[in-house]
């Protein structure tokens, strides 16, 4: 096969000069396209090509606009236009003609027209609207080819807003007798699902029908949809697990027609798709996984190593086995398979083997050890991609023992690598490692990575230096070492160092060169001055250097150097430089002032200024300001306010009005957008809203490092709180803490943060820790005692656990924010959820212990096997605390059962909140210890046998979605046994968070104008005639708790709010037998979700 194209070169000359190839029917030498191509091939320079194409385009333009051009000629012109476009020359004047061709031509011309349209235009192109009617017509055509063409163009690109227009026609095609049409229709619907999921909500059962289609091709097409949907919400499709397993079984068993074989492997692509789906379904689900074991084993066995495509199946199989609930003999086989991949001489397989190892190594580090030698060989492989993949693998298994070797290898790679993208990625990783296992590699990173690296890397490095480690002596050593090596670097060839590195060097020298006694400041100053004189030193670097000089000059001999420099730069064109130069000048002359401003405090260890608190409110300027105001100056407005006013002043404001939002929030987000550096201000506002406080928190970390340079010790406690907030989510990905029930929750939380960083290699192997916690570690090490580190021996699969720490109640607000964040980031989550845990976190543990009814209780639970649910419900409800038991509660749904522990939950609607009650009942005789539940940690110390514990959580929605699901973990320990954990999830529709919002029509009017997110859709009316509107709105009112503000003639307005006062307004109008609904809200996604529920409500009615 590979020689198929080889004859091209030999064939080329004859073809160009003489007749067309016999095989290709109409490759005529006289055709215009032929001429054009020939012309281009003969050209030698890019410039000539450009000229020729421009000329060609001009002639095309002439002809397309001429009324005499027939459709047939147009077709030919279009192909030429496509050719020009593919060479990168714009031919936008032909777009409209392409649409015309698709509209008016015969089937053949249509084909060219559609092709041109799909190549030229994109989904948001305005001309595409003109195509809608053509597509509509062709979808109804009796000519199969035309229908196919229409479906193809629809799946390629179609304006989102117009989907409703053609949706019914495409749906109809699912029942088409021709298999190819059904298949294309399924893919077109999948495309719709991708671009506008809400539009196709109602046809989910049609997807199921497609899955059961008698033609395997259609079924295969529907798997695309299922893969996507299951990725978004694995919980929703668990019932299909058995079906997928059966399908795979049949495919593997060779039940499909021979046509589907590829190199005698039955439908390999179908198998791959199915294995991926199974992996998603079996993840964290023991019962679903159990169904799959057999077929996976079969697949592994059947896929004999003989062809490329069987390897593809094997690879998916292995990945699936490692993703689902583990089974030891399968794991063993899979591990063997990985071994075959890694050891294979075929380079593609080696690559995949390394990928698989990287994936697996988090669960089973031993596997990497087995293949240690191969990995080391791969490091010296000639293929850079293989090398990179190996480094990625090594990065995952780095520990204190091997860090030096691994970092060395990475740097080696960096030196030969020329690809920017890889460099950035790898420099980040090296920096992370260097930070984690401090060593002297950072200077190499800086000089190699140069200006490519992300700016926060040098920042965090400087922070590391200034904050130091645990022992004074180590700090001193490291700093001395830095000074030493940088001086040597500067003495050699500073010209070659990247700017970022120079900045770091000058800062370090400014701060720490005094540590080295024998070093004369003059020497350093001269070195720095030399830097200043170099041509390519950027002005930013120069100002860093000048600052360093300011710190260094202590009077005496160095003054002369300084004077010279400051004189040169005090007349600089750059204002920043000029300012620095002036500072330098004054401070070098006035040693008293200098001592006050730049205090060197060796005793406190943070070598800089204590006592010079930064006055962020600039109160010392108050006098000046009031004077200026008195003199008639305009009061100061912050930039965002100015911006807003400016926007309002203009007649057409494109910015959404933020009036209805709480001011702090809107202002905060605006500054956020405009200048990220301002965030140090907004971080103080954290807690106002989830997003912002989170951002604020993480950014403040960075700024922190900068501030630290100036030694603001006074802000430490505050900062600690913010940092904690930003980092709480880290332990979740690593492991669930506090399973052993350490008495000191604070310590435990810290300990869990360090997990994976501790020098024990077994722990290090478990996962890739986030970069953030390391900083934390350095600072807090003193707090953690050695015992807590022994607590971190880990159970397997820990990274699957989700557990949010809520131990420190005084930072509850930030924690709530981060827990929300955590859940939204869940990979499987279509459903985002968030839970604010009520401040008091009512633990009603064991409330009923003394209650005599408990005995009765047990009897029922025991009997519950035969007589399920109902009585159990009743008895569980009785455990609710009094203030809740009167509220109407939902049905109690069982969540999970582990051994004798039964978890169930229900939700209760309150006026202003939604309460989730989780019941944990223990039906065993023995007492449980250390129950840690759910969404947050609320440990119950001792949990006696035969009792029920109720936890309450008040829920709010941070980001609306159609369904909200809450995920949690419960972990517990039986006396004398290992701790256990189980996961559960609870799903709620968004509707139960909706409350009526009472507003007047006037208020409604003002609110309507101020909301920026909206959506429109037509809904079916209930009943007909005059009463239809009222009837429909009443249904909505009942089912969704909407408040009907007013009904005027054929129009109605409604309002509601999401809990926590996030309003949503609805405007309905009866139009042509349907209800045109328009929803608006300040909250993104809320209108979309609500319209979905409205649709459902009306359908169900």
């Amino acid at each position: 096969m590979s020689d198929v194209v080889e004859k091209t070169l030999t064939a080329l000359p004859s073809l160009l000069s003489l007749d067309p190839q016999p095989g290709s029917a109409k490759l005529s030498s006289t055709s215009k396209l032929g001429n054009l191509i020939r012309g281009i091939t003969e050209l030698t320079s890019k410039h000539e090509e450009e000229k020729l194409i421009q000329h060609e385009l001009a002639s095309i333009k002439d002809q397309v606009s001429s009324p005499n051009t027939s459709m047939r000629q147009m077709k030919e012109l279009m192909v030429r236009a496509i050719y020009c476009e593919s060479l990168g020359y714009e031919a936008s004047f032909t777009y409209i003609h392409a649409i015309k061709l698709a509209q008016q031509g015969t089937a053949l011309e249509k084909r060219v027209g559609y092709l041109a349209v799909s190549l030229f235009l994109n989904e948001s192109h305005e001309l595409l609207l003109l195509l809608v009617n053509t597509v509509l017509k062709d979808l109804q055509s009796t000519n199969l080819i035309e229908v196919c063409m229409a479906l193809t163009v629809v799946s390629q690109m179609f304006p989102k807003d117009m989907i409703p227009a053609i949706l019914p026609l495409v749906e109809e095609k699912l029942n088409h007798p021709k298999e190819i049409i059904r298949r294309k229709a399924v893919l077109a619907l999948y495309k719709f699902y991708l671009i506008a999921p809400n539009q196709v909500q109602h046809i989910h059962n049609k997807f199921r029908k497609a899955l059961c289609d008698k033609d395997p091709g259609v079924m295969t097409a529907s798997l695309h949809i299922y893969l996507q949907m299951i990725q978004e919400n694995p919980e929703g499709y668990k019932d299909l697990t058995a079906s997928f397993v059966t399908i795979l079984k049949q495919v593997v068993g060779g039940k499909l027609p021979m046509d589907f074989n590829y190199h005698s492997v039955p439908a390999p692509w179908l198998q791959i798709q199915l294995l991926r789906i199974l992996a998603l379904l079996g993840k964290n689900d023991q019962s679903a996984s159990a169904v799959m074991y057999e077929v996976l084993d079969e697949s592994l066995r059947r896929a004999e190593m003989n062809h490329n495509i069987t390897y593809a199946i094997l690879y998916e199989c292995v990945k699936c086995i490692y993703t689902i609930h583990p089974k030891s003999d399968l794991l063993e086989k899979a591990a063997k398979c990985i071994g075959n991949f890694v050891l294979s001489p075929k380079i593609n397989l080696k690559y995949l083997g390394l990928k698989a190892l990287t994936y697996v190594v988090q669960q089973d580090p031993r596997l990497a050890l087995q293949h240690q030698m191969t990995i080391i060989e791969c490091l010296d492989h000639s293929d850079l991609i293989i090398k990179r993949e190996t480094l990625e693998l090594l990065f995952r298994i780095t520990n204190a023992q091997n860090v030096v070797v691994i970092v060395e290898k990475m740097l080696e790679f960096l030196r030969v690598n020329t690809d920017d993208y890889t460099t950035i990625d790898l420099v980040g990783k090296v920096a992370e490692l260097a930070e984690k296992y401090p060593s002297d590699t950072m200077s190499t990173v800086f000089s190699v990575g140069g200006d490519m690296m992300q700016p926060d890397i040098p920042n965090s490095f400087l922070k590391l230096l200034s904050e130091g480690f645990d022992s004074v002596e180590e700090d001193r050593k490291l700093r001395l070492f830095a000074v030493d090596s940088y001086i040597t670097l500067l003495q050699k060839e500073p010209g070659k160092l990247p700017q970022r590195f120079l900045q770091v060097i000058s800062w370090v020298l400014g701060e720490y060169s005094h540590l080295k006694d024998e070093l004369e400041p003059t020497v350093v100053l001269k070195l720095l001055a030399k830097l200043l004189d170099m041509k390519h030193t950027s002005s930013e670097t120069k100002s860093w250097i000048l600052m360093a000089m300011t710190k260094l000059c202590e009077g005496g001999a160095e003054v002369s150097v300084v004077r010279e420099v400051s004189e040169t730069y005090s007349s600089s064109m750059d204002t920043v430089l000029r300012q620095r130069a002036h500072e330098l000048q004054y401070l070098s002359q006035d040693s008293e002032l200098r001592a006050k401003v730049l205090l060197r405090d060796n005793a406190v260890q943070t070598c800089c200024v204590a006592g010079s608190q930064v006055d962020s409110s600039l109160s010392f300027l108050d006098g000046f300001v009031s004077e200026a105001l008195a003199a008639g100056a305009a009061p100061y407005k912050p930039p965002h306010q100015r911006q807003e006013e400016l926007a309002q002043a203009k007649a057409l404001s494109l910015e959404p009005y933020g009036l209805s939002l709480p001011m702090s929030m809107s202002s905060c987000s605006i500054t956020d957008r405009q200048s990220p550096t301002l965030l140090s201000m907004s971080s103080g506002l954290s807690g106002d809203s989830a997003e912002i406080s989170h951002k604020g928190g993480s950014t403040s970390l960075k700024l922190d490092g900068v501030k630290r340079v100036w030694g603001r010790e006074g802000y430490l406690p505050q900062r600690a709180a913010v940092e904690e907030a930003a980092q709480v989510e880290v332990p979740c990905t690593l492991r669930s803490p506090s399973q052993q029930g350490d008495p000191d929750p604070e310590k435990q939380q810290l300990a869990s943060l360090f997990f994976g960083l501790s020098s024990q290699s077994s722990v290090c192997l478990m996962g890739k820790p986030e970069p953030t916690p390391h900083r934390f570690r350095r600072k807090a090490k003193g707090v953690t005692d050695p015992t807590s580190s022994s607590l971190i021996s880990t159970p397997s699969n820990v990274e699957k656990l989700l557990c949010n720490n809520l131990l420190d109640s005084n930072i509850a607000s930030e924690l709530a924010v981060s827990s929300a964040k955590q859940i939204t980031e869940l990979p499987q989550g279509l459903k985002t959820a968030s839970c604010d845990v009520e401040a008091e976190l009512t633990d009603i543990a064991d409330i009923k212990q003394n209650n005599p009814s408990l005995i009765v209780d047990n009897g029922i639970v025991a009997a519950a096997d035969e007589d399920p649910d109902r009585p159990k419900d009743l008895c569980l409800i009785s455990h609710l605390p009094a203030e809740l038991s009167e509220l109407c509660h939902s049905e109690i749904t069982p969540l999970c059962t582990i051994q004798s522990l039964v978890l169930s939950a229900c939700h209760l609607q309150k006026e202003d909140s939604l309460v989730l009650a989780v019941f944990i009942s223990n039906s065993s005789d023995s007492a449980l210890q250390h129950i840690v539940s759910c969404v947050s940690d609320s440990p119950a110390e001792d949990f006696r046998g035969h009792s029920v514990v109720v936890y309450q959580y008040s829920l709010t929605v941070k980001r609306p979605s159609i369904h909200v699901s809450i995920e949690g973990t419960v972990s517990f320990q039986l006396p004398g046994e290992a701790p256990q954990a189980a996961q559960f999830s609870y799903k709620l529709p968004l509707t139960i968070f909706i409350r009526p919002l009472t507003v007047s029509t006037e208020e409604y009017g003002t609110m309507w104008l101020s909301f920026s997110h909206d959506t429109k859709q037509n809904l079916t009316l209930i009943g007909d005639g005059q009463e239809a509107l009222t009837a429909t709105l009443n249904v909505l009112k009942q089912k969704l708790q909407l408040h009907v503000v007013e009904i005027i003639g054929q129009e109605g307005i409604l309002s509601c709010r999401l809990l926590q006062d996030q309003p949503c307004l609805m405007h309905c109008r009866v139009h042509a037998g349907t209800l045109a609904v328009w929803l608006r809200s300040p909250v993104p996604d809320l209108p979309d979700c609500l319209i979905y529920h409205c649709q459902r409500a009306l359908q169900e009615y």
């Binding site: 390629q156 294309k184 690559y351």
Partner: protein, 165 residues
Amino acid sequence: MIKAILIFNNHGKPRLIRFYQYFAEDMQQQIIRETFHLVSKRDDNVCNFLEGGSLIGGSDYKLIYRHYATLYFVFCVDSSESELGILDLIQVFVETLDKCFENVCELDLIFHMDKVHYILQEVVMGGMVLETNMNEIVAQVEVQNRMEKSEVSVQCQPVAELISG
């Protein structure tokens, strides 16, 4: 999902460009150039997978390519596609081209760019793999070709009548 399919020759001249995700025209050309740059400097004995580079989506994206004599076939896909699966899909596509053009060569791709597009449409539709069975693909293309022939013969008929008459 497949994000883009690029075919260019050993000199980086684009022969077939199909994007399934929108990029502006100049961005497309830049992507083609960057991809060619990445792919062309790789030997034939190294692996067929590449990380996507900075332009087309970052670490979630992969370039999967095959090199046939004078042409590079590059598929840019996201993580939802199987690497080896796509590699074989390229093979299927090329074999189909070979069948449709009877020993395909670069010139066929140049002069019949539109036809290559039609064939591709039967393999990949809107970024999703539609059909992997070569015989099916060829059958679909032939249905279309028959339509073409019948139309041509209809148009030729009057001419023939004129001549005979």
